[in-house]
């Protein structure tokens, strides 16, 4: 679409801008202010300069949490994206089965995040949980409070349970937008299933997958409530992710300065990853559609 150049559009943006700025910029400024001081209360505070940043960047617990965070985010993305595409391809195209599937698939997305943790806690406990008891019956001493591997696997499984539907629904709606004529043409050409997927379905999916991967990366990078309820970050600190480390520091110990410095580093990391991703996608789209899209 050819957009008109008109700076009066700013008036339409203004109400939204004021509200978001109130919620985003004022707190961000405060975080920056915290990060260079040792704050006890508004009157008692000392300027520390860059000390907190230095401490935080060299803190081995935080570095470990950061590595765990990346490992977790990439693991769940690597599982959820292919699985979600697969489910979208398998789903019935129309009829009551299609709407029933849609409703059931959306279910996990609408459950409050800490309730998701509770559901999986109830499901995997060794004494009252179906999965916990079931695995033990099979002869494996499954225990998420003792065994870090079990805890990790369970959290990944929980995240797959929770978020694969998002990818599946996005891809499903992408697939529904492909006109039947494309498939007919493919049938005439005797195209293999793989060729249909690679040259007809996947290109249509890129747009929605971009949204899906971006949302999934951002959310998995901020994951807090689910592992907190399920494992409490344990055993040891094997499932303590960045958000939890930060929340413990900020709320639990009230270390405003260090946690603010850490917040900023955290934010910069997400900003960089998402910017690179966003720019790469926008540029590849620009090459594909020379007449200019959205």
């Amino acid at each position: 679409m050819n957009k008109v150049y008109n700076n009066r559009a700013w008036f339409l943006i203004l109400p939204m801008l004021l509200l978001v700025a109130f919620s985003a910029i004022i707190p961000l400024m405060t975080v920056v202010n915290y990060s260079v001081q040792d704050v006890f209360d508004a009157q008692t505070r000392f300027f520390t300069g860059t000390e907190w940043f230095e401490t935080m960047l060299n803190d081995s617990a935080l570095q470990a949490a950061l590595l765990r965070q990346f490992a977790f985010s990439f693991t769940v993305l690597a599982i959820e994206v292919p699985l979600g595409i697969g489910i979208a391809l398998l789903m019935p195209k129309r009829g009551w089965q299609a709407s029933a599937m849609l409703i059931l698939l959306t279910l996990p997305l609408l459950i409050p995040w800490n309730v998701v943790g509770s559901i999986w806690q109830l499901f995997t406990r060794g004494d009252i949980g179906l999965m916990g008891v079931g695995i033990r019956e099979l002869g494996y001493a499954y225990n998420i409070t003792r065994n870090p591997t079990d805890a990790w696997a369970t959290i990944v499984l929980m995240d797959v349970w929770h978020w694969t539907p998002l990818i599946a629904l996005l891809c499903y709606s992408g697939l529904r937008a492909i006109p039947d004529a494309y498939y007919q043409a493919a049938r005439i050409d005797r195209a293999s299933k793989w060729a249909v997927f690679r040259y007809i379905q996947l290109p249509k999916l890129t747009n929605v997958l971009v949204i899906g991967v971006l949302l999934r990366f951002m959310h998995s990078f901020m994951i807090y409530a689910e592992p907190f309820v399920l494992t409490g970050g344990g055993p040891g600190s094997s499932t303590t992710f960045l958000s939890q480390t930060l929340t413990t520091m900020a709320i639990g110990q009230r270390d405003l300065g260090p946690s603010a410095a850490f917040s900023l580093i955290y934010f910069l990391i997400i900003l960089l990853v998402c910017w690179v991703f966003y720019t790469a996608i926008m540029n590849s789209q620009k090459d594909n559609t020379p007449q200019g899209g959205a």
Binding site: M29, T30, Y34, V36, E54, L57
Partner: protein, 90 residues
Amino acid sequence: MEWMVWTLPTAIFFSVIAAILLGMTAWELVSPTVERRGFLPIATTRGDRLFIGLLSAAYIHLVTVGFTELSIWFALGISVLWLLVLMRWG
């Protein structure tokens, strides 16, 4: 405003950012930017280059503060230099 615990350095920092944004807007009104290709792998507008410059400046500062003994003024100098190079040839 008391609870925002302002300090002089952070106040200066945000004023500079605000001034840069205002300056960029004025510059844009006077002579609109043209998207072009410099040494960066993507075509960028003036605003894109500013954003890339500021983001990399943040990382330059973090690395300097966290992993070297160099003064933060050194990082600032490098960042400003890098920003100028980026704006001109990026």
